[in-house]
């Protein structure tokens, strides 16, 4: 689980496309299949063959050179995931409410939560003509569990019985031939899987993107990532097959006529690397048909008939964390008295002008949140049950902040007008933020200003911003200078807070926990929680608890923007990209 959360989304995604290279930015789609998800098949029949124009090519732009690792289990960044989404498909997909639903395969979980049965639809073909079978899925798990495996998806097979045994083999074959004890192939399209522990999120955590095992035949696991079969002539079972790769610049794909959901409307898709800074212009000029742009650029496109601007809520959120303790190597120790008083934390939340931040620095592309969860998740709590720290009346918020601080005993002021702590000692607050985009610095300064405006002697740590990796290094090691820090998390589709919020989580950066919280998180993964309604209820309660305790101030859930050529239809950005049902895309300007 830990690794699936791993991708801290460093930058505040809404604005940071320019700076973040491929590695850091995407939210881990591996366990959620978000990039490639194909929802229900219901209405596809008529659209694919019916009334929409057929043919034409669409150019999908990306703003960073891509690495070219065209295999789900090995790729690292969004750059490659977009291509994978076009050429590959997955067994399950994520529905709009982020629930995992059957797609190319059906699944069933036993009452005790320990057995998962996967039945792959028959007749699905790979681009090389082989049929997708249970063997492909089994092969994939064996690759990932193999000691030589070079990717980082281990946590998605870890729960399979026997996977750990394979991974810790001292002597082994370089090929993925070591069987996992818990995998039982019932027939060519059905697998019965034993997992170590029951959990409501087993299915969303489990690795279910099969590899073309025939295509990879004979390749040692260690060599897979760099093999020609992955990089030069990758094979998938998605709507488009790769015909030409220009490393780092372009991938050309054409329609795969035997696609299991019916052939795509388009003749092909060209994936090409373009300059992000020029984004909006490139779409206007028709050089690119689909491109994620910065919110700032979206403003230029308003009223432009040739371009559709499509918004979508990203699966991530930004926050400002308080340092309430430290990590002792094994667990959280809450020993930092500075923000011990919950009223101070709440006062800060009132003081910070989140609405203003979104409007000024993200051009409004973001939603103020009061819970550490993306607003699109089914687990996002009902706002009416939460305390609203950012009301429409800014003056009232500031007054409330002052009132809370006074109440907490921070009413005395020094000669410069800064508040003193209840013992009459200076109360200074170091705020740490990441560098990265042109608005990182003004935004951080503005937050400091917000605090200064309620008399808190806040300043940017060392008077500067920190580069992303350094920032997280310092935050993670609980650098003593840090009081407040602004971070962001990319989320997985499953809302389980484990990994970020438990007492035993190294990534619990605010270094906060409570008995209530621990209990609720456990409850959310209990057998009872196999019932979605119960689970929703548990997370609702957990969010209310966090909203009151406020170990971090949730800032906003960013909104992404795609600019799409007006002639290209059926494009629908979802979760983290616009590669969503690409076989339904069509052009209106073809003969």
């Amino acid at each position: 689980m830990k690794k699936s959360l791993l991708l801290l989304l460093a930058m505040l995604l809404s604005i940071s496309l320019l700076v973040v290279a491929c590695g850091g930015e995407d939210e881990e789609p591996t366990d959620t299949d978000t990039d490639s998800s194909e929802t229900d098949v219901d209405d596809t029949e008529e659209t694919t063959e019916g009334d929409v124009p057929q043919g034409g090519t669409v150019t999908y732009g990306f703003t960073q050179p891509f690495a070219g690792v065209f295999d789900w289990a090995h790729y690292g960044g969004q750059d490659d995931s977009l291509v994978l989404g076009l050429m590959h498909d997955t067994l399950f997909s994520t529905a709009e409410d982020l629930m995992t639903v059957p797609h190319a395969a059906d699944f069933e979980i036993s009452e005790d939560g320990l057995t998962v049965t996967i039945s792959i639809q028959e007749g699905i073909l790979w681009h090389d003509g082989n049929e997708l079978t249970a063997e492909d899925m089994v092969y994939t798990w064996q690759v990932i569990a193999h000691p030589d495996y070079t990717g980082d998806r281990w946590s998605n097979v870890e729960m399979i019985v026997g996977a750990s045994d394979v991974r810790s083999l001292e002597e082994y074959d370089p090929l993925p031939v070591h069987e996992l004890e818990g995998v039982n192939v019932v027939d060519s399209h059905t697998i019965e899987l034993q997992v170590n522990d029951p959990a409501p999120n087993t299915i969303s955590n489990l690795w279910t993107n099969p590899m073309p095992s025939n295509h990879y035949e004979g390749i040692a696991v260690a060599d897979l990532e760099d093999s020609e079969e992955v990089r030069r002539n990758p094979v998938g079972f998605g709507p488009f097959k790769v015909t030409n790769i220009v490393p780092g610049e372009m991938v050309e794909m054409e329609r795969f006529d035997d696609y299991w959901q019916g052939p795509a409307n388009l003749d092909g898709v060209v994936y090409r690397v373009v300059d992000g800074a020029m984004g909006a212009e490139l779409v206007q000029q028709g050089e690119v048909d689909i491109l994620e742009i910065q919110p700032g650029q979206a403003v230029q496109l308003e009223g432009n008939e040739a371009v559709q601007v499509l918004d979508y809520e990203r699966l991530s959120y930004s926050y400002i964390g308080f340092k309430l303790g430290h990590w002792n190597g094994e667990e959280i120790v809450m020993d930092n008295p500075k923000f011990e008083d919950v009223r101070v934390r709440q006062a800060f939340a009132y003081a910070i002008d989140r609405e203003g931040i979104i409007n000024a620095f993200s051009d409004g592309y973001g939603v103020v949140i009061n819970a550490p969860e993306s607003v699109i998740s089914w687990a996002y709590p009902d706002e009416s049950t939460l305390t609203q720290y950012d009301t429409a009346d800014r003056d009232a918020d500031v007054a409330k902040a002052n009132e809370l601080l006074d109440e907490a005993g921070y009413s005395e002021r020094d000669a410069d007008g800064w508040r003193l702590d209840p013992d009459g000692n200076p109360f200074t607050v170091n705020f740490m933020a990441m560098s990265g985009s042109d608005i990182s610095e003004p935004r951080a300064t503005y937050i400091v200003q917000n605090l200064q405006d309620v008399g808190v002697n806040a300043k940017l740590q060392d008077g500067q911003l920190f580069e992303m990796n350094l920032f997280y290094d310092l935050v993670e090691e609980d650098h003593p200078d840090i009081d407040l820090f602004m971070g962001a998390w990319g989320l997985s589709a499953d809302p389980d807070p484990t990994g970020l919020w438990r007492k035993s989580d190294a990534w619990n950066f605010p270094r906060w926990y409570s008995e209530t919280s621990e209990e609720l998180i456990r409850e959310g993964l209990s057998l009872d929680a196999l019932d979605p309604e119960y689970r929703t209820q548990v997370y609702q309660e957990w969010h209310q608890h966090v909203n009151e305790e406020l170990p971090m101030i949730p800032l906003f859930s960013p909104i992404g923007v795609y600019a799409v050529n007006a002639n290209v239809q059926n494009v629908q950005p979802f979760l983290s990209s616009a590669v969503y049902n690409p076989h339904l895309w069509y052009r209106t300007d073809v003969e």
Binding site: A277, D438, E441, P442, Y446, D462, Q464
Partner: protein, 300 residues
């Protein structure tokens, strides 16, 4: 032996001043219009920068989200930037940062280059060989590339780390110039004479060689001042220089890495661009003027 009385001493000194090589050079420099205009410009820019708090009512760091990207005119003479900061204010405070770093780096680089170069040139032999091999060695590192690598390693240390990194890598040219000038100057018999009257090596270098190498050093210093200002602004522009919250001309230019800023918000980047270019231009003209003034062959 009677000594000269005080008054005539003063008079003689005055005459001496007028006729000293320095005085001649100064006169020539004062007659060079371009250099004088440039000097005036540089002095004005420096003074304005350092008096910034008394000239502009705005805070150079305060973010004003209600007044972002305001075009020139109205309350904001040159408009505001993406953070709602007054461009004119940033220009003044930024000049302070950029000029200070430029001067400090120039001073360090010239001092270090002079020390290495004069020792190397004076002693010759193995001392020279060792020092020059070392200089060549440092010269082989592409300046900008290494400054960026080092600056990114020491980024936490702030402005001083930047200054030291630039200086540590920037002295080689000065050292070579000073060395070759020292060597040719050393050929003059007065150096031999200075040794023959019992001057210690340190004294010979300081009293005899350096004053005569000084013209070269001064010219080199003006050139380096320009180079150092460019280095700071370029590094800040790329994001490896002054911390982004600190106003500096390079940081102001950083916003021009967004094409839409280049295209439609010219008031954000044109002022710092002009400030940098005009400053460098005037420093170069002053350098040319000094070079010319020290050149005995030039008329004027």
């Amino acid at each position: 032996m009677e000594t000269l009385d005080n008054q005539s001493t003063q008079e003689l000194k005055k005459i001496a001043k007028k006729q000293s090589p320095w005085a001649i050079a100064r006169r020539k420099l004062f007659q060079n219009k371009l250099a004088m205009i440039s000097l005036a410009f540089l002095v004005i820019v420096t003074i304005l920068s350092f008096l910034a708090p008394w000239i502009t009512p705005f805070d150079p760091t305060r973010v004003d989200i209600m007044n972002r990207n305001v075009p020139p005119g109205g309350d904001f003479m040159l408009g505001t930037d993406v953070a709602g900061r007054d461009i004119w204010t940033l220009l003044l405070y930024g000049g302070r940062t950029s000029l200070t770093i430029g001067f400090v780096c120039m001073f360090l680089v010239v001092s270090f280059g002079t020390i290495i170069g004069s020792i190397s040139g004076y002693y010759g032999g193995w001392v020279d060989a060792v020092l020059m091999r070392f200089t060549d060695f440092v010269m082989n590192f592409p300046f900008l590339v290494f400054v960026i690598v080092l600056a990114s390693i020491f980024r936490e240390a702030g402005i001083w780390a930047l200054i030291i990194v630039i200086s540590v890598l920037g002295w080689t040219g000065a050292a070579r110039v000073v060395r070759s000038k020292t060597m040719s100057e050393k050929e003059n018999e007065y150096v031999m004479a200075a040794i023959s009257i019992g001057g210690s090596p340190f004294k010979v270098i300081r009293k005899h060689l350096l004053p005569n190498v000084m013209t070269t050093i001064i010219v080199q210093a003006t050139l380096l001042l320009a180079v150092m200002i460019v280095a700071e602004t370029a590094l800040s522009f790329l994001g490896f220089g002054v911390p982004s919250g600190t106003p500096s001309w390079g940081n102001m230019m950083q916003e021009a890495r967004q094409p839409h800023v280049i295209r439609s918000m010219w008031w954000i980047w044109v002022p710092p661009a002009m400030a940098i270019t005009l400053t460098i231009l005037s420093i170069n003209f002053i350098g040319e003027g000094i070079k010319d003034a020290f050149n005995p062959k030039s008329a004027r």
